[in-house]
Symmetry: C2
Subunit: 184 residues, 2 copies
DNA sequence: CACTTCATTATACAATATGTGTAAACTTTC
DNA sequence: GAAAGTTTACACATATTGTATAATGAAGTG
């Protein structure tokens, strides 16, 4: 999996042959198939690994904070840290989902969960009267999804970025949608 | 090219074989190679076509408006219309650039130009004192690039979206970065 | 009309990739 | 040491990209 990760980052998907992966890992191509079933299976495993390393579970944790404004801040932060955990790899993986319908399922499933999290939080914000006026709840969800997406993080963060700096920028933008002014 | 476009949207990149493209277009595979040189060449042509159909030149036009605030508004609008012109196709094309270093060049070149446009406009905004305090010019450029990226548009717009509605949302967000309050 | 030029076709070929099958060698476990 | 499960080496089928070549056909020009 580590071999696959490195090759995927360096060569891209098209340049990633299971022959190379197997060689780099010091095993046979057949062994790779025994473990992962297919190239797609391998990618799935790599994706799961990066999600785990990036501590995805922190997203759910952040969303459960009782103060909804604080929850937004933490959710944005957890997202940034997740995306920063392996940027080059995520770029390939997320891109792949847009390119190949077969591969899409993995990412789509996680995005669905991310959306459910935000949708729930937006309902709480709405109940607390913290949504800016003239803004539908669904719109707010879409905006927050977009702001906390990998694509946005990737464009906002310079190569040597500190996730915290990006987080500050995102919160500033989110303030146009949600009233976060009570907090730093 | 139209065959390629349809197949790319329907099947994704991995499912797009030049055999299928040729058959759908009613020619031989060899003819496709005579015209486009390679699969990449074909994609390039398809990308150029969608950029032309989406009227990319309007971006440059918008950036030249003398009032910098008005220029921002128009540039955001032109971006939305560009991205809306063939969403399903752009999803594949933009994703592909993130997946495959070979393919990246096409998109990267356009992004570079888009960035130059924004960078110039941000300098004008800065000179007019319209940047929100505590914000570096490079940060502003990155934020505006992110807000007007295809990825953001694609996440913000519902399936049946009106580009103008998305544009309004984006301007609201951009207002956290640039003072646009003088305008509607 | 005959001639030339050019693109298209049919066909074959090489190279590379994915995925499967099988028997032999090797490890692990009991 | 024997049984069970992996890994290997090797062969094979299939699909795809890309190139080469001779034959075919459709222009336009004299």
């Amino acid at each position: 999996m580590e071999s696959a990760r490195q090759l995927l980052v360096r060569q891209g998907f098209h340049g990633l042959s299971l022959e190379d992966v197997a060689r780099a890992a010091g095993v046979t191509r057949k062994t790779v198939y025994n473990h992962f079933g297919s190239k797609l299976g391998l990618l799935n495993a790599v994706f799961d690994a990066v999600a785990a390393r990036g501590e995805v579970w922190r997203l759910a944790e952040a969303a459960e904070v009782s103060d909804p404004r604080e929850a937004v801040v933490r959710l944005v932060g957890a997202s940034c840290r997740l995306w920063a955990s392996d940027r080059a790899l995520l770029r390939r993986l997320v891109g792949l989902a847009a390119v190949d319908p077969e591969t899409a399922s993995v990412v789509v499933e996680r995005e669905r969960r991310r959306e459910a999290t935000w949708a729930h939080l937006v309902r709480r914000l709405e109940a607390a009267g913290l949504l800016r006026p003239g803004l539908a709840a669904e719109e707010a969800v879409r905006v927050l999804m977009a702001l906390t997406s990998f694509a946005t993080y990737d464009m906002l963060a310079p190569a040597d970025a500190d996730p915290a700096a990006v987080m500050a920028l995102l919160l500033r933008l989110a303030d146009g949608i949600v009233d976060l002014s009570g907090r730093g």
